[in-house]
Amino acid sequence: MDISGTVDTEVTNTAIEDEEAGAKPRRLFRINWGYMLSSWLGLVPFLLFCLLFELLPAVVVIQGSLTDNNTGDFTLDNYQHLLSQSNNLNAFQISVSISLVTALIGTVVGFMAAYGVYSLRSGWLRNFLVGFSSITANFAGVPLAFAFIATLGATGFITVAIQNWFHVNIYEDLHFSLYGFWGLVIVYVYFQLPLMVLIMLPALNALRPEWREAATNLGASGFIYWRRIALPILLPSLIAAAMLLFANAFGAYATAYALAQGNINIVPILIGYATAGNVQVDTGLGNALAVGMIVVLLAAVSLYVTLVRRASVWTGK
C-alpha cells in the first residue's frame, strides 16, 4: 500500500509539472489510470472467488466435453456419442418439453392468479398471499417430492380418496403415474405458480390506474384496454418471467431425483450419473450433456436479459 502511495504522489508531481508545461490531457489520463487501478483492486477478492468456484467449473466442463477421456486429445466424439444415443436425445426432448409446458402453465395461470392477488381490496389478504407464495416457491426439492408421493402416489391420500369416492384407480384405470411426464409436470407446476405470482406482482403494481381511467374515458372496453394498453406494457415482463420459469424447471434435479430415485430420463439426472461416477455415463459424455444444457439455458437467459432491458424502458427504472 505504501508503494502505491508514493507512486501516486510521483504521478501527481509529474502531472503538475506537465500542467505547467501545458500538457493537460496527459495529466487527466495518468491520474484516472491510477484511480482506476486501485478501484479494480477492490474487486479482486470477489472476482477471484467467482473465477475459482464459478468460471473455472464452466471452463472445465466445456474443455472436458472436447477432450478424449483416456488420451486427453482434442475430439468431438463426446458430442457424437450424445447425438448417436437415442437415450440422450430423448432426455433433452423430455427436459425441454417439461420445462416448456410447466413454464407455459406457470406463466398463464400464474399471471391470472397474480392479477387476482393484485385486484384484491384487502391489504392483509394480499400480504398473506405474498407470504404464502414465498413459502410455497421455497418448498421444493426432496420435501416437495415426498409431499406429492403422499398425495398422488400409488397409496397417496388423494389417490385413495378418489378410489373410495368414485371407485376409479387413477393408476390402473387412467394410466396416470406421478413418475411419468404429466406427474412431473404437476409437481414442477407447484413451485412455478407461486414463483410467477412473486415475479409478476411488482410488474402489475407498475400499471397505473390513470391509464385504465384514461382508456375508459376515451371509450375503450375492458378487452381493448387489455389488448392495446396493459398487455403491451406487461408483455416484456411476461416473457422474461416465462424464461425464468423455463430455466428454473430445466435445471431442477432434486425434485425429480427424490421422486423416482433417478429413474426419470431427464438431462440433469443423466449429468448427475456422470458426476457420481456411474458406469452408464462417462465423464466426457456428461460434460457434453452439460454443455448442451448450458447452450439451451444461455439462449433463454440472453432472451431474458434483452427483454428485461426493454421492459425497464416502460417502468422507468
Partner: protein
C-alpha cells in the same frame, strides 16, 4: 352510456375469472400440504411415535447440525463477499456493473448439477490449463494442507455461488434506493474511513437488502440437495431422502417438518425486513431460493 353498459359485464367477468383462478391455485397449493399432513397423521403407529422416532435418531440431529453450520457459513461468506463489493462497485466502479450482473446471473445458466460436475472436475483431476488460468491456486486448493475436495468447505463455496443472484440483487437494489454517494461523501467529510463508512453508515441503510439476502442464502443452503448428494456429504436434505425412501409415513412427517422450517425462514424474512431501519426494499425483495 353505451360504453359503460359494455364495459361493466366484461370487467366483472374478468375479475370473476381471475378470482376463480386464484382460488383454484390456492387450493392446488394447499392440497398437497393438507394431504401430506393427513398422510403423516394416518400413520399406523401414530404421529407421535413417528416424531419420537425421528427425534431420537442421532442421524437427524447430526445432519441438521451440519446443515445449520453449512448454511450459517454460506450466509456469512456470501454477505461478507458481496455487500462490500456491491458498495465498492456502486461508488468507485460503476463501469463494472455489467460484469457484476453477468457474474451473478451465471447461476441461472449453470444449474447446481452442472456446477457440481465442474467443481468435481476442477478440484478432482490435475489439469494444466486450469493451473495457469487460476494463477496456480487450483493445485494449492486440491492438495494436502488446504485440500478442499469433497469437503464441507467446498460445499460452502458452491452454496455462495448458487445463491449469488439472491444475494446481489436485494443488496444492489437497496444501494440504488438510498443516496449512497451523498451519504459516503458526508461520512468522509466528517473524517470517517472507508470501512467505518461502510459498516456504520451504509450497512444500516441497506439493512433490509442484507437481511433478505442472508435469509435467502440460509434457506437455499438448508434445502440444497443436488451438490451435497453429488459430493457425497450427509446433510439434512440427504437424510430426508434416505429416510423417506424406506418409510412413506416418516417421509410425510419429515416433509411437514421441513415445511415448518421453510415457513420460519420466510416469516423471519418478512418480519426482519419490515422491522429493519431504512425500509428501502418492498415486496419485490422477497424472492425464491434455488433448492429445486
Amino acid at each position: 352510456m353505451a360504453v359503460t353498459t359494455e364495459t361493466r359485464p366484461a370487467r366483472r367477468l374478468s375479475f370473476g375469472l381471475n378470482r376463480l383462478v386464484l382460488l383454484l391455485v390456492i387450493i392446488y397449493l394447499l392440497l398437497p400440504l393438507g394431504a401430506t399432513l393427513a398422510f403423516g397423521l394416518s400413520s399406523p403407529a401414530g404421529i407421535l411415535y413417528t416424531f419420537q422416532q425421528i427425534f431420537s435418531d442421532p442421524d437427524f440431529w447430526q445432519t441438521i447440525q451440519l446443515s445449520l453450520v453449512l448454511s450459517l457459513a454460506s450466509t456469512l461468506l456470501g454477505v461478507i463477499l458481496v455487500a462490500p463489493t456491491a458498495y465498492w462497485v456502486h461508488l468507485r466502479l460503476p463501469k463494472a456493473r455489467p460484469l457484476m450482473d453477468f457474474l451473478t446471473l451465471i447461476p441461472f445458466a449453470m444449474p447446481a448439477v452442472i456446477l457440481s460436475l465442474g467443481l468435481v472436475e476442477v478440484y478432482g483431476t490435475p489439469n494444466n490449463l486450469l493451473n495457469v488460468l487460476s494463477f496456480g491456486l487450483v493445485p494449492v486448493l486440491s492438495n494436502d494442507p488446504f485440500n478442499i475436495v469433497d469437503t464441507p468447505q467446498l460445499l460452502v463455496c458452491a452454496y455462495v455461488i448458487i445463491s449469488l443472484p439472491f444475494v446481489y440483487r436485494p443488496i444492489e437494489n437497496s444501494l440504488r434506493a438510498i443516496n449512497t454517494s451523498t451519504l459516503t461523501e458526508a461520512a468522509y467529510s466528517l473524517g470517517s474511513g472507508w470501512w467505518r463508512t461502510f459498516l456504520t453508515v451504509i450497512v444500516p441503510n441497506i439493512w433490509p437488502g442484507v437481511i433478505s439476502a442472508a435469509l435467502l442464502t440460509f434457506s437455499t443452503a438448508m434445502g440444497e440437495f443436488t451438490i451435497a448428494s453429488l459430493f457425497g456429504l450427509y446433510t439434512f436434505p440427504i437424510y430426508l431422502d434416505v429416510t423417506g425412501q424406506n418409510d412413506a409415513h416418516k417421509a410425510a412427517s419429515l416433509s411437514v417438518l421441513s415445511f415448518i422450517l421453510t415457513l420460519l425462514c420466510v416469516l423471519a424474512i418478512i418480519f426482519l425486513v419490515r422491522r429493519g431501519p431504512g425500509r428501502a426494499g418492498k415486496e419485490g425483495d422477497i424472492e425464491i431460493a434455488a433448492s429445486k
